[in-house]
Amino acid sequence: MTGQERFDAVIDADEKIEPTDWMPDGYRKTLIRQIAQHAHSEVIGMQPEGNWITRAPSLKRKAILMAKVQDEAGHGLYLYSAAETLGTSRDELVDLLHTGRQKYSSIFNYPTLNWADIGAIGWLVDGAAITNQVALTRTSFGPYSRAMVRICKEESFHQRQGYELLLTLCRGSEEQRAMAQDAVNRWWWPSLMMFGPSDNDSPHTAQSMAWKVKRVTNDDLRQQFVDMTVPQCEFLGLTVPDPDLEWNEERGHYDFGAIDWAEFWNVVKGNGPMNRERMAHKNRAWDEGEWVRQAATAHAAKQAARRLEQKSA
């Protein structure tokens, strides 16, 4: 059997490709790009929420938010590790992010303006992420699939804490309900955009589906998300900011309004409200952390030298 034949057989049998297996060059490239951008998104995703840690209204909410932001860092690490099994290095990937040659999800280029945004992010943004990532647990590349399994377990906490946060606000004062509605109004459409362009405008979807890197198309995932989320929104007593939203008895799904793709592409290309700030902050954090990395390296070298000394003494 040739490498290609063995690869095809594994994909056909719905088994996983592992890093040391032969794989088509395009498969490797697609995965490096997708996993790396997924990792970058997790890491940049720490910023909109980290922004609220000091201002969270209670010690409990601060602790929860810190745990969540720490999870995002962990998710970034799982994913970078998965990408590294494809023959790239952490330094290279981090550099691609810092120099803007690789992107992260556009959702993080929107600002978190009020406390309810933290709830909306957990419920809507992490909810959209879970929809996507549950599908990705069945992706054909083993390390990516395993990272998704681990991440999905943790995202469930994120989504529930976000919903509970909003529920608390919705059971509060008139002002608190207004805050919650304002946050949902601003995060609803960007959350729908997280699933990416419509299937008709996703030239790479067919190949990704054939390789089983992607298991469900953008539009199908988006529909799943809307169907799941609308009743949850009704329970909160909030409205979805879409006048065209309507249950379609015949399809058994919600119909929803047109997405503003011009806004989407504009943000992807770097012109969203927070693109520049997110990148500047990330680069600053990296530069300011240089002494920590140097110190850790120096400490490790010193410890190693000391052990050698003790051995020879």
Binding site: E42, L77, E84, S105
Partner: protein, 113 residues
């Protein structure tokens, strides 16, 4: 979160190479979920030395009571089977069903065995 960032029309296709000159060595992390179970591979991470690898492994892989013991091993210390030799390595056993208990027919009257 998620994040299949779409290709921007005209986006350059990057050749992502490995440049291993600066980075810390990679460690494989094994976690024992509870006493009585084996350590199981959990993932990998970069760290300058074994102690920091253990510390990082605790933060990355056991934030939700996933373990009571961690091993870290330099990735470079692992010797693995060659995926191209899979057939020669493992296939012979496919032809030896008599190594399995289910190969043997025992009459029901004998009872559970």
């Amino acid at each position: 979160m998620s994040y299949d960032v779409p290709q921007i029309p005209g986006e350059e296709e990057l050749e992502v190479a490995a440049s291993d000159t600066r980075q810390w060595p990679m460690w494989e992390v094994f976690v024992r979920q509870r006493r009585g179970l084996s350590h199981v591979h959990a993932g990998s991470l970069h760290a300058p030395d074994a102690e920091s690898a253990l510390q990082n492994a605790r933060d990355v892989y056991t934030r939700r009571a996933e373990g009571v013991s961690i091993w870290v091993v330099p990735s470079s210390a692992i010797t693995a089977t060659d995926p191209d030799d899979v057939d020669a390595m493992f296939d012979p056993f496919d032809e030896q069903p008599y190594r399995h208990a289910t190969y043997y027919e025992i009459p029901d009257e004998v009872g559970k065995m």
